[in-house]
Amino acid sequence: MAARTLTLGKALNEGLRKALEADPKVLIMGEDVGRLGGVFRVTDGLQKDFGEDRVIDTPLAESGIVGTAVGLAIRGFRPVCEIQFDGFVFPAFDQIVSQVAKMRYRSAGHVALPITIRIPYGGGIGAVEHHSESPETYFAHTPGLKVVTCSNPADAYSMIQQAVSCDDPIVFFEPKRRYWDKAEVDTDAAPAPLWTARVARAGTDVTVITYGPSVRTCLEAAAAAESEGRDIEVIDLRALSPIDWGAVVESVTKTQHAVVVAEAPVFASLSAEVAARISERCFYSLEAPVLRVGGYSTPYPTSRVEEDFLPDLDRILDAVDRSLAF
């Protein structure tokens, strides 16, 4: 077993390196991904080793990044686009929604667009505006795209490779405040199928469904709850579109209580889908309504109050308590 301790960011870097090695058609493109290695160093060293033709510093325009990636994919390449921060994906939104998501459909299957769009996302890093958002719902709501997110180094390492080798366009969300989280990564282990959720912690009392940066927060909440005698099961969705409903329903059927946790404003969000679907599928098992903990219906606030905006231990435990007290 080739187990090494890696940060989540480094695990992505190594995963991308593997992807570049495995297939000469894989390209990396984005702003500052070359010599700088990206502002989070996720592409560190890749341009040096794979050259400027495969690791491409692009002009500063996101629609251009994704739009030219579409053309490169039509020509048979597998572009991995980096969007520098969550809040900067919107200039590319049109190309993503109307071209990337729909080209296969439009072409009756003749054109595949194996494009991966990497987006560091989420808050909690004390950043300025547009650097802490959670835009996953916009993409999950868009048919033709698939959406995934990793929560730990091992998943980061395998999921990025699986995403790059998938023939469908994938929006790959990276929990930026977890880039520095470290864990052992077994680089030889067979990865779990990309479209499966993971029981991050088994428990019996309440199911907390979450993903990305909130997984660690929920695990911490579960650890804290343990001392108070509450046994929380934490499900890390991993795939946000499509969702592994089997895993979710199985857990909620068992615990009869569900809390959904994510950083995005809850209104009309992916969390709403999770809550709605659980409410429908587990109608007879639920002992309490599905509760949601998330961002408020405001723009992402300034960093000095972001801790009050983000779901934290206390808010998660408060929801767990409310669910159990129902």
Partner: protein, 366 residues
């Protein structure tokens, strides 16, 4: 409607013309075209076929067989000139109006009708003829063409990419980003702008206050304005631009100065916004008449030839009509096909539910 007629481009070398509206060959210092009578007859044939495709499709729409049609009437020379400059290894990225380019690229025009009849979203195989899917969101395809050209640079492919777009499209951010990319990467792409003077109801002046071909200057690559109703000039200019691209000299912007003789689409009513007189002046510049005049005058073709082409066009029209009527209505359940290459549990579930639901109707004898 009080404004004057559109201004016309100045004569002189900035406006590349090789065949006048009267059918006279003229020389241009930068663009030479050695072309045989046979080749000119071929172009004439293309022009006529393409126009016939268009008029037949318009008729099919009027008769309710198509939901919509975007006519290329008046733009035949621009499209045939560019289409014939393209070789098999070149890849075209069209808008929704490039029926003439499709024809030159060898696409059976029936293939194009599915989109307008509502039986498909396009659905042809772009790799078969190097002709991309019709793109409706204005300007998007210019970035695709540029990316494709970057791909050619990376895999050593020997063709070039050509992006088609309109005068209106020139205002879109995507088109200008494509100019930035193409310039910075020196990509083998030709930007072919059919300036047909109108973007639905908006005249050229709503998009630019200088000639569009000059936009390229701002991005550091050449721009050329060509008489878009002169198939010889378009062929010469586009060939040269493609040659430049293939030999590694980077992008070119070609502005084909032409006119949308018909409505924007069959849903549009141009009498609301433009003068009939404008149409009249453009009728005098018809792209087909001048080739016919030239061939007749030069003896390059005789009445038999013209009659033969007319017959071939009639046959093509009949083929188009028959093909259109034979286009199969898709089975509803196929609406779930081709969303993903590798499937999706969500979609599988929805497909099953829908199939069961549809079956319940069938069972109930609805």
């Amino acid at each position: 409607m009080t404004e004057a007629l559109r201004p016309q481009p100045s004569e002189g070398p900035e406006f590349v013309q090789l065949l006048t509206p009267e059918g006279e060959r003229v020389a241009h210092p930068d663009y030479d075209l050695e072309i045989s009578d046979e080749e000119i007859r071929g172009l004439y044939r293309d022009l006529l076929m393409v126009r016939r495709i268009d008029t037949e499709a318009t008729a099919l729409q009027r008769q309710g067989e198509l939901g919509l049609w975007a006519s290329l009437l008046g733009q035949e020379a621009a499209q045939v000139g560019a289409g014939r400059a393209l070789t098999a290894s070149d890849f075209a990225f069209p808008t929704y109006r490039e029926h003439g380019v499709a024809f030159c690229k060898g696409v059976d025009p029936v293939t194009l009708l599915g989109l307008f009849r509502g039986t498909s979203q396009g659905g042809w195989d772009p790799y078969q003829n190097g002709f991309g899917l019709y793109t409706i969101v204005i300007g998007s395809q210019t970035l695709h063409a540029t990316g494709y050209a970057m791909g050619l640079q990376r895999d050593g492919g020997d063709g070039a990419a050509m992006a088609f777009f309109g005068d209106g499209a020139s205002s879109q951010g995507d088109v200008n980003e494509a100019f930035v990319w193409a310039s910075v990467f020196n990509a083998p792409v030709v930007f072919f702008c059919q300036n047909n003077q109108w973007a639905i109801s908006e005249p050229l002046e709503k998009q630019t206050r200088i000639p569009l071909y000059r936009r390229a200057q701002g991005f550091g690559f050449p721009g050329v304005r060509v008489d878009g109703n002169d198939v010889l000039a378009v062929l010469a200019v586009t060939r040269q631009a493609l040659a430049r691209a293939r030999e590694g000299s980077g992008p070119t912007l070609v502005e084909a100065w032409t006119y949308r003789m018909g409505a924007h689409t069959t849903s549009d009513d141009p009498t609301r916004y433009r003068l009939a007189a404008e149409l009249e002046t453009w009728k005098l510049k018809d792209p087909i008449e001048r080739v016919k005049a030239h061939l007749s005058r030069s003896g390059g073709a005789d009445a038999t030839f013209f009659a033969e082409v007319d017959t071939a066009a009639d046959e093509l029209a009949a083929h188009l009509r028959a093909g259109c009527l034979a286009l199969p209505d898709p089975d509803p359940i196929t609406l779930f096909d081709n969303v993903y290459a590798e499937g999706s549990s969500l979609l599988d579930e929805e497909r099953e539910q829908c199939a069961a639901y549809l079956a319940s109707f069938a069972a109930a004898g609805h």
